[in-house]
C-alpha cells in the first residue's frame, strides 16, 4: 500500500498537519520512481495538475482534495474536456472553508464516500486500501482503467441536445460519470426535476423503471455472461417498461478475467 500526493508543498503540508505523519513523502527527485509503486493517489490543488499527471490519475484510485472553489472549477473543466473521469474508486473531499453544499455541482455528493479531512483519513489511507464506492454488482471488482475505457465509449454515445436529468439507485449513480458527462447532467433527486435518463444495473431495472415511469432513456451498465445474457436484459427492460423499447446502442468494452463482457446498453423507451 503506497500512497502518493500530488500538489503544491503548502497544501500537502497543510493536509498532513496536525499530528499526522506524512505518508510516504518523497522529495520531487524521486517522484517518478515513487509513482511507479503507488497504488493510491491524493491530488491536492487541481489547478497545479499537468497533462502527465492525468496518465497516473486515470490508472489509480484517487482522492481529490478541493482546497478552494477554483479547484472545483478546474475539476469540472477537466471532466468536460474528457481528461478526467470520476469512477466509484474516486473520492472528493473538501478542505477548510470550501462550502460542502454544492449547488453548482450536486453530483459531488455521490463521490464523497463519507470521507472528511481529519487525521483519521490519512491513517485510514495508510492502513487499509479504500475500496470502491457502492456500485452495481460486479462493478466494484473492475479496475479503474477499465472503467475509464467504458466511460470514454459511453460518453461519446450518450450525448443529448439538452442536459439530461439523470436518476437511478444510489449504487448506480456511482457510475454517473462513466455513463454521461457528469458536468452536463442534472441530478434528478437533488435538483427536483423529472428524469429524462435512468441508470440501472440489470438487477435494478424493474425497481428503477417503476420509480420513474416517465423517463425516455435507460442506460444499463452490465457485466454480461452466461448467467446474465444480453437477451435476458432485453426481456427485463421490455417487460418492465410497458411501452415499446428500442436498443439504441451496445458498447462492449472488453472481456473481463472471468470471460464475462463489460457492456453498456442504451435503450430508448416509448
Amino acid at each position: 500500500m503506497s500512497c502518493v500526493f500530488i500538489g503544491p508543498d503548502a497544501v500537502v503540508r497543510k493536509l498532513t498537519q496536525p499530528n499526522v505523519s506524512p505518508v510516504d513523502w518523497k522529495d520531487p527527485a524521486s517522484f517518478q520512481k515513487s509513482l511507479r509503486f503507488a497504488t493510491r493517489l491524493v491530488v491536492a490543488g487541481l489547478r497545479g495538475l499537468s497533462d502527465r499527471d492525468f496518465l497516473a490519475i486515470n490508472q489509480l484510485p484517487t482522492v481529490f482534495v478541493l482546497t478552494s472553489g477554483v479547484d472545483l472549477t478546474h475539476l469540472i473543466m477537466h471532466i468536460q474536456h474528457g481528461r478526467l473521469c470520476l469512477t466509484p474508486w474516486d473520492r472528493i473531499v473538501c478542505l477548510g472553508d470550501v462550502d460542502p453544499h454544492f449547488f453548482r455541482a450536486p453530483w459531488i455528493g455521490f463521490f464523497n464516500g463519507g470521507l472528511t479531512l481529519e487525521p483519521s483519513l490519512f491513517a485510514a489511507l495508510k492502513e487499509t486500501p479504500w475500496g470502491s464506492l457502492p456500485a452495481p454488482a460486479g462493478f466494484d471488482k473492475i479496475a479503474k482503467p477499465t472503467l475509464i475505457k467504458f466511460a470514454i465509449k459511453m460518453r461519446a454515445v450518450n450525448t443529448f441536445p439538452f442536459s439530461p436529468v439523470v436518476a437511478g439507485s444510489k449504487s448506480a449513480l456511482g457510475l454517473i460519470d462513466c455513463c454521461f458527462d457528469v458536468t452536463d447532467a442534472v441530478v434528478s433527486g437533488a435538483e427536483m426535476m423529472p428524469p429524462d435518463a435512468l441508470i440501472a444495473a440489470p438487477e435494478e431495472i424493474e425497481a428503477t423503471l417503476s420509480a420513474h415511469p416517465q423517463a425516455t432513456l435507460l442506460v444499463c451498465p452490465a457485466i454480461v455472461n452466461g448467467d446474465i445474457p444480453m437477451e435476458l436484459i432485453h426481456r427485463r427492460v421490455a417487460l418492465a417498461a410497458r411501452r415499446p423499447v428500442n436498443l439504441l446502442n451496445v458498447n462492449a468494452i472488453g472481456t473481463l478475467p472471468d470471460q464475462s463482457v463489460l457492456a453498456g446498453l442504451t435503450y430508448e423507451l416509448g
Binding site: 472553489g69 477554483v70 449547488f103 450518450n158 441536445p161 439538452f162 426535476m193 429524462d196 432513456l217
Partner: protein, 364 residues
C-alpha cells in the same frame, strides 16, 4: 356526414411526441388547442424530409413517441394525401412547407400563421442574400393564397401592415404556450431565479450578464440557474459566463428537456432575459419569457420589444438601457417576495382569454 378536419403543419415537434421542443412546436400546440372546439379532428402534420432532418445528428435521441394525432407524410405522397382528404383547414406556421401549398389551395382552406418576422431575423443574423430572398418570396406567396392570416401580437401586425393591407381576414393571435398540468400534489416553493445567455446570433446580452456576475458575487443567498451553453472565448459573453460559473450559488445548465424545463419554471420566482434592443428585437416575442409567465413566474426583460403589447402590462420589471446590479437586485428581491402576484394573475387571465378566443378559428 363529413368530418371537419384541421391540420397543423409543423416544422418542429410539438411536446406531444418529443421532449425537444422549440417555439414553433409550442405554437403548433397552441393552435391545435384553439382549433379543437371548432373541428371534429385536429392533427399535426410533418413532411418526411423535415422529420428526417430533425432526427438526424449525433445525438442519442429526439425521444420521439408515437401519437395518432401526429402524422408524418412522405413528400412524394403529399398530393395524394391532400386529394384524398375532404375539404379541410391547413394551418401553416411559418412558410417553410411551401411545397404543400399549391396542392392545398385547390380544395382546402389555408391559414397562414406568422409567428416571427423570418426575413428580419435572417437579415439580423447576416444570412446570405438568396436565403433572405427565398424567405421573402415564400412569405409573399403564402399571403397571396391564404384565406386567413394569424399574426403574433399587435406589434407584429404593425410591422406587417403594408403586407396585410389587401388581406381580407387577419386575426391577431398572440403567442401563448400551453402549460401542462403539474403532477405534484401541491405547488412547489418558488425560490429559484432563472436567467439566460443569448440564444441567437443577433442578440447581445453581455451588459446583462456582466451585471448579473457582479450581483451574484455578493448575493449568496439566492439560488440562481444560468441556462447557457459554454461560449467560446471569442464570444463577448464568455468573460461574464466564466465569472458566473465560479460562483457557488449559480448552477449552469446547458438546456433542459421540455418536462424538466417546465418543472424548473414551476420552482422559479423570477425569470430574467435581457438583450440590447436592435431592429429585430423591437418586434420579438421572447419564447423564454412567455413560457415563464405561462407557468406563473415574474419576468425581467427589455422594454420596447413585441412583449409590450402582451398581458395588458408587464408582469415584472423592464429596463430600457443596460441594467445595473442594483436594478437586478431590486427585481430579484421583489420576485422572491411575491410582489408581482397581482400582475401575474392578470397575465394569467389574459392568457386564458387568448386561448379561448373563438375568432381565431371561427367561421372557417
Amino acid at each position: 356526414m363529413t368530418v371537419m378536419k384541421c391540420f397543423i403543419v409543423c416544422n418542429m415537434f410539438p411536446a406531444l411526441v418529443s421532449n425537444v421542443v422549440r417555439a414553433p412546436g409550442l405554437r403548433a400546440e397552441q393552435l391545435a388547442f384553439q382549433a379543437r372546439p371548432h373541428f371534429d379532428q385536429v392533427q399535426y402534420l410533418m413532411l418526411r424530409s423535415r422529420y428526417d432532418l430533425l432526427c438526424r445528428g449525433p445525438q442519442v435521441t429526439s425521444n420521439l413517441t408515437a401519437h395518432r394525432d401526429f402524422l408524418v407524410i412522405d413528400d412524394a405522397r403529399v398530393k395524394d394525401f391532400l386529394n384524398r382528404q375532404p375539404p379541410s383547414v391547413f394551418v401553416f406556421s411559418q412558410p417553410e412547407m411551401a411545397g404543400m401549398l399549391s396542392p392545398a389551395i385547390k380544395r382546402h382552406t389555408v391559414v397562414y400563421d406568422i409567428l416571427a418576422p423570418k426575413e428580419l431575423e435572417l437579415r439580423s443574423g447576416k444570412a446570405d442574400a438568396t436565403q433572405i430572398a427565398t424567405a421573402k418570396r415564400r412569405h409573399q406567396t403564402f399571403l397571396k393564397f391564404a384565406d386567413r392570416v394569424l399574426v403574433n401580437g399587435e406589434k407584429n401586425r404593425l410591422l406587417f401592415e403594408s403586407d396585410l393591407a389587401d388581406q381580407k381576414d387577419v386575426v391577431t393571435n398572440a403567442f401563448c404556450p400551453l402549460t401542462p398540468p403539474s403532477d405534484s400534489p401541491e405547488p412547489p416553493k418558488r425560490d429559484h431565479i432563472l436567467f439566460f445567455s443569448s440564444a441567437q446570433k443577433w442578440t447581445q446580452n453581455t451588459p446583462f450578464l456582466d451585471a448579473m456576475a457582479e450581483l451574484m458575487e455578493t448575493k449568496s443567498d439566492v439560488k440562481a440557474v444560468l441556462m447557457s451553453p459554454l461560449k467560446h472565448h471569442e464570444d463577448p459573453e464568455s468573460l461574464a459566463i466564466s465569472q458566473l460559473i465560479q460562483i457557488p450559488n449559480v448552477r449552469r445548465i446547458k438546456s433542459l428537456s421540455y418536462p424538466a424545463h417546465v418543472s424548473l419554471l414551476e420552482r422559479c420566482a423570477g425569470v430574467m432575459d435581457w438583450s440590447i434592443v436592435n431592429d429585430e428585437r423591437v418586434n420579438s416575442t421572447s419564447t423564454r419569457l412567455i413560457q415563464a409567465v405561462g407557468s406563473g413566474a415574474a419576468i425581467f426583460g427589455n422594454a420596447g420589444t413585441g412583449l409590450d403589447a402582451f398581458w395588458g402590462g408587464y408582469p415584472g420589471a423592464t429596463s430600457q438601457d443596460a441594467p445595473n446590479a442594483a436594478k437586478l437586485e431590486a427585481f430579484i428581491d421583489d420576485a422572491l417576495a411575491g410582489t408581482f402576484a397581482p400582475d401575474l394573475e392578470r397575465a394569467g387571465n389574459w392568457n386564458r382569454q387568448l386561448l379561448e378566443n373563438p375568432s381565431v378559428f371561427g367561421g372557417l
